[in-house]
Amino acid sequence: MTDSLPTTSAGAPTQGAAPTRPAGTAPGTPGAAVVVDHVSHTYGRGDTAHHAIHDLNFEVMPKECVSIVGPSGAGKTTLLRTLAGLLQPSEGAVWVNGKKNTGVPDGMAMVFQDYSRSLLPWLSVERNVAFPIAGSSLSKPERKALVDESLEAVGLKGFEKRYPWQLSGGMQQRVAIARALAYRPKLMLMDEPFASVDAQTREGLEDLVLSIRDRYDMTILFVTHDIDESVYLANRVLVLSRPPATLVEDIRVELAEPRDQITTREDPAFIHLRGHVARLIHSGGEPV
């Protein structure tokens, strides 16, 4: 899987392509799942303005699993919200599957950090999972099949009739992942999805992400503040600086597949990478 990925994906993709590219087509490598083109965002105006992200440029190829790390408050959520089309960046543009984001892009699903708030407490587990497809043109059996399969993929078969508040935190986040899966996204954005579950649950959920990526051929962008997690899950790690966040480094992760919680984590290459990422984050974006 890893060795079929393009070898050059770091840096600013747009510089060379921009002048010759026909209007309305995406900058960067043709076929890229996501192109982030000179994206900056400032919240508010005047004295209270906060420059959250600054001139970010990168692209993500289909089926890559890219993690984004950075200090807390760096602007990781801001970046993800611009990718999701929930926030229009003050400068630059995001292209998803060759289309410029003017709103929420097609085929994109997001898993939010706070599962207890993103699940709807008045809906049972199965109806929460069916939420994204409830208004679609699918037939009832088709919808049910999607829901069943998604719940099965996250190991929650048999919990269809429960309510979110009857489940543990880790299980609730699984429901949120199943909900994203039911939508059958090509692109899945995850914003610190495991920040508030315990370490053991977290390992299980990390392996779940790896398994669904392979099973559903998705492109995944995964925001985390956990350095080990960023390396363990990803094909690439994007390190952001302190705010205003810029891209410090785009690191390729070439670890043996499939990843394993024990062997991967004791692999010298893993240890080296995590050390490198940690140094970058602790220096806050200064050269190390």
């Binding site: 899987m1 890893t2 060795d3 079929s4 999701a84 929930l86 929420v104 097609d106 994109m108 699903a109 997001m110 939010f112 706070d114 207890s116 708030r117 993103s118 709807l120 407490p121 008045w122 939420f131 994204p132 409830a134 208004g135 993929a153 996250v154 190991g155 929650l156 048999g158 919990f159 429960r162 309510y163 979110p164 508040w165 009857q166 489940l167 543990s168 880790g170 299980m171 699984r174 939508y183 053991q200 649950t201 390992e203 299980g204 392996d207 779940l208 790896l210 398994s211 669904i212 392979d214 099973r215 597949e257 499939p258």
Partner: protein
């Protein structure tokens, strides 16, 4: 393409279904029993005081005779018509109040400028006691159903509207963003997230409005001569001022109380049945 990745591993921790839990029902039953004990105690006390001859039995007839009268009154066609009239006014009034207050509350809760615009009018009208409108409305509409309706609607609108407004305001922006991220339209977000999330607040508003509405209907019937209803029945019976009519006054009053109780219990049951998630989701977790 490199070697295919092996089949995805099954998620590692297979959680076991939690046990069903029902700690509430016994607590509820105990509360109901205590409440009943209080009522029975009071009734017994009234009965004893009345039969002991300490007070004039004209003013405080034994509770058993009041209860008996409340039952036999149902044989009286006029009384039945009065109860029906009160109930109809109450039901129509609540329906109209909901039909106005819920949409207005949603709009005011969703759009700040609308709220700011409406605020002055609302704050001006809200403190007006509904019953103070009776003379004015009597002049315009006479003593019929319309008059009662206008006043009941006026009384019932505020709790429903403010609860709706508050509930809509209270909707988690995070949940709305979640819906938007799945491409749900603006109207879809209102229908599928905002309204269900605000619904428990709305129903609480309806419960509060409902007890106010019943009180207001009966009060209006009492003071607006010529009106129909339980209040009118009481006011007519009182005019005779003999022992029998006192009994009828008391029996009608008890009937009104029981109506209110039954309605309140019904709405409470609906709240628990359909919005139990709200208390549990907020209180628990």
């Amino acid at each position: 393409m490199a070697i295919a990745t092996p089949a995805p591993p099954a998620p590692t921790t297979g959680p076991t279904p939690p046990r069903a839990q029902k700690p509430r029902s016994t607590a509820r039953r105990n509360a109901v029993l205590r409440g009943l004990a209080g009522v029975v105690g009071l009734i017994l006390l009234l009965e004893i005081v009345s039969r002991s001859g300490l007070v004039n039995t004209n003013f405080l007839p034994p509770f058993s005779s009041v209860l008996w009268k409340a039952i036999t009154l149902w044989g009286d066609e006029v009384f039945r018509a009065d109860v029906l009239s009160t109930l109809l006014t109450y039901v129509y009034g609540m329906l109209i109040a909901c039909a106005i207050a819920i949409p207005v509350g949603v709009v005011l809760g969703m759009f700040r400028p609308a709220y700011r615009g409406a605020r002055a009018i609302v704050e001006l009208m809200r403190p007006i006691p509904p019953v103070a409108l009776v003379p004015l409305v009597l002049l315009v509409l006479g003593a019929g159903l319309e008059m009662k309706l206008v006043i009941v609607v006026f009384a019932a609108i505020w709790p429903i509207m403010f609860n709706t407004l508050y509930g809509v305001h209270d909707v988690d922006p995070y949940a709305k963003e979640m819906a938007r991220s799945f491409g749900v339209s603006r109207f879809g977000v209102i229908r599928r997230v905002v309204i269900p999330s605000a619904a428990p607040f709305v129903v609480t508003g309806i419960r509060i409005a409902s007890s106010i509405a019943l009180i207001v209907v009966i009060t209006v019937e009492l003071i607006a001569g010529g009106a129909q209803g339980i209040g009118a029945f009481i006011s007519r019976e009182r005019a005779f001022s003999d022992a029998e009519s006192y009994l009828a006054v008391l029996a009608a009053t008890v009937t009104a109380g029981l109506l209110g109780l039954v309605i309140n219990l019904g709405i409470g049951w609906l709240e628990r049945r359909f919005f139990g998630w709200d208390a549990t989701a907020r209180g628990g977790a």
